[in-house]
Structures are given as C-alpha cells and as structure tokens.
Amino acid sequence: MPSLGADMEAGTLVEWLKRPGDTVRRGDIVAVVETEKGAIEVEIFEDGEVLELLVAEGVKVPVGTPLARIAGGVETPSPDAVPVPTPLPEIGLAPASTAAPPPARPAEVPTPAGTRVSPAARRFAAERGIDLAAIHGSGPGGAVIRADVERTSGQGPEKRHAGIDLSQMRRAIAAAMARSKREIPHYYLSHSFDAVAAKEAVERFNADQPPENRLLLGALLVKATALALRDFPEFNGFFAPDGFLPSKAIHVGVAIAIRGGGLAAPAIHDTDGLPLAELMSRMRDLVARVRRGGFRSSEIADPTVTISSLGDRGVEALLPVIYPPQVAIFGFGSLHDRPWIVDGKIAPRQIMTVTLAGDHRVSDGHRGALLLRRIDQLLQDPQKL
C-alpha cells in the first residue's frame, strides 16, 4: 500500500486491474485504492509478471503492506513493505459498494476483441448479466473498469462524488494545513500585473479553433509559472527531515475545487515542457477525474509545487497555504478591470494579482519577488509560452 501523503496511515484496496499471470510495465495502473483523498489509481514502478495478489478487494491495510508479488522484482508497489496483510476494521473508509470478491469467478462474459476489461468489472458484469460490449471504458487505455459497469447497471454508488468521501477529505485537508501552519514559516508576496496580453492571446488562438482545442487563460498561468520556476529551484521540491531537496522535474500541482466542499491538487508531470494545447488537455482531464474521484497515485504523491487559481468568479487575490512537504504555492486571483498607467496615461486594463507563499526555511522574499516578476514578464509575451 503506497503512502499517498504524509498523513495517510491505511488504504482500502477497491479494485484490482491486473490479475496473476498478467504482464505489467512500469507506469501501468494496477489497482484502485480508496483513501482519505478519494479513490486513487495505483501505478507500478517496475516491469514484470504478476505472480500473486496479496490483498483482496475490499480489504483495508496499513501503508507499507505488500499488495502483490511481481516476478523477478521485489514485493511491490511498496519496496519498504511490512508483511502484515491483516485487514483493519473498516472505519467508514471503504465505499459501501465494495463487496468482498466471490469465492469462484462466474462465467466469463465475452467481450469484443481489443477491449480491455478489469477483473472486477468482468465479475460485476457477469454476476448481473451485463453486456460488456456496450460499455464505454473510462479506465487506463480505455479499459472498462468496475465503475463503468456500475454506471451502466444503475447499481453503482450514487453519481455524486463517486469515490470521494468529503468528510474524509476535509480531515485530510485539515491535517495537512494544520501541519503546514505549525511547521512552515510562511512569507507572502503579491504582484499585480496587466493580463491583457495573455487574455488577448487566448482569444486570438481560440477564434479559429474548434471548441475542444481551445485554451483557457489558466493554462497560460500554469505554463508561465512552471517556466519561471526553472531558474528558481529553491521554490520547487520537498522539505525533508534533513533539509530541502530541490526537484529537477517541475510537477505543478493544480488545486481543483470540488463542488460541495473540498479540494485536491494533483500533479501535472513535467509541466514546464508541455505545449499549451497538451497542458490544457491534461488540465481538463485532471479536473474531470478529480471531481469524480479518480486520480493516480503518482499525481497525488509527487507535485513539487502548487498553483491555486480562482478563475473568473473569484476575488482579487488569495493568500495560499503551502502544502507540505512542498515549499511554495502560487495564487492567481480573478481578472479585474482597473485603471492602470500605460505609456504615461491612465487606461482601463484587465489586471490580475499573483501571490506567492514561500517557505522561509528555504527561500527569501527577494528571490520570491524576482520569481513573481518573471511570471509577469512571461505573460506579457504569451506567444513564447
């Protein structure tokens, strides 16, 4: 059971997406785990063949418990695993729909060639006589997973926040933010800038694009911040017990609000190297998955910095709280019409305020200010993003 955050102690294995005999490659999604942060897809970190599944679906185990054995590899996905696959009592963590697997697999339901179906989805469908061919898969590589079958059957959990327990999420946010305020000496900087160039660049680009290829201003804000961070390594990485560990890779966590309360900030990997169109489509994908509770273990575990953007209905500025063990977080306020000085004259412009909360154990306000100015500069020349 991987640790998906400093405060995670245990997780419930909701679904296996692989079974013994399957070949797995590094990065494959092998299982779905339910945690305080919602349902998270667990990736594997080595190549090999699945020999044995050590934890049954529906069972809650402590972090560090081996989940499966992989041929040729160490027990995985937890290299520092403790061999204690003893189920913990269920304490309101597992979704009610997670039944224990039946002792014998029901008859296989035929599926069209090329369609991948997770074992749990196959079983669920078989038990209820559902035709898998008619189901659109939302799992990795278009695979049909149990949630897809549940949706089709109408027997699944309610649509509302499937996979997300909001009270658990609130507790996770509370624990992380309390730790942040207790341990991290924050300093805050704020910078207002003319956002017209960036906004007009988005409008020009979108004018001759079909809807699905268009951009939102938010993608430019994330890209500019990621590019600026290349020259400011003291804002990108983790604070470990031995001190700051800068990260070469820039994995921006994007804070995504969940209607009804709660938020998550999963990572967009290697944000600085993504073309805007790709970044936009990753952001869309992430928002959709966060809101239905389906992000992946690496997305949750490894953002190196976070951006919180208020979008178009927020206020001028936000003063964000660093998400430990990260050492910086950026906030973008909503666009506001303001009188601004342009070429010595007052002109109405659309102004945005970017803020930075930095960790004073690692960086100082002087560098933070230079970083915010760099973001501003990059957004004045959006063609280069």
């Binding site: 649509k159 694009q209 809807p211 268009r214 938010g218 209607r259 178009d312 209905r313």
Partner: protein, 80 residues
C-alpha cells in the same frame, strides 16, 4: 429543434459535467455559474459538449451567451 428539446439537452449535458448540480432546478435567467457553482472549465466543457451534440460551431466569443438557460436556449435555437 424545439426549445424544450434544447432545454433538455442543455440540462443533460450540465448533468454530465456536474452530476451533483441541480440544473433542472435552476431558474431560466439565473447565471449558471453562480446558481450551480460552475467554473470556467465547466463552461468550457459545456460548450464542447453542446457543439458536438448539436453539430454546431459555438465561437469562443459567444460562450458568454451560454451562462443562463434562457440565453443558451435562445442562442442555440438561432443556430439550429
């Protein structure tokens, strides 16, 4: 397509984007962003979904007309 069909299509697509939002219960003139807590990404996805479903092009500059149910129905009725 008559207005009631358009209304049903819009409400269904909002339901796909924001399952927990009560689109059918929103007043015709209410700003959907305020009434249903939709953000710019949700409106973006609504424009994508409606343009696909109805086979119409909705220019980015017109997206602002889709933020109320009445505005969206009026706008799409003109295109359809």
């Amino acid at each position: 397509m008559i207005r009631e069909d358009l209304r049903a299509a819009i409400i269904e697509e909002i339901g796909n984007i924001a399952p927990e939002a009560d689109a059918a219960g929103a007043a015709d003139d209410a700003d959907l962003r305020e009434a249903l807590d939709l953000d710019s990404m949700d409106i973006f996805n609504l424009v994508v979904a409606l343009s696909k479903r109805l086979g119409v092009d909705i220019p980015d500059a017109d997206a602002g007309q889709l933020v109320t149910l009445r505005g969206a129905i009026d706008y799409l009725a003109r295109l359809a």
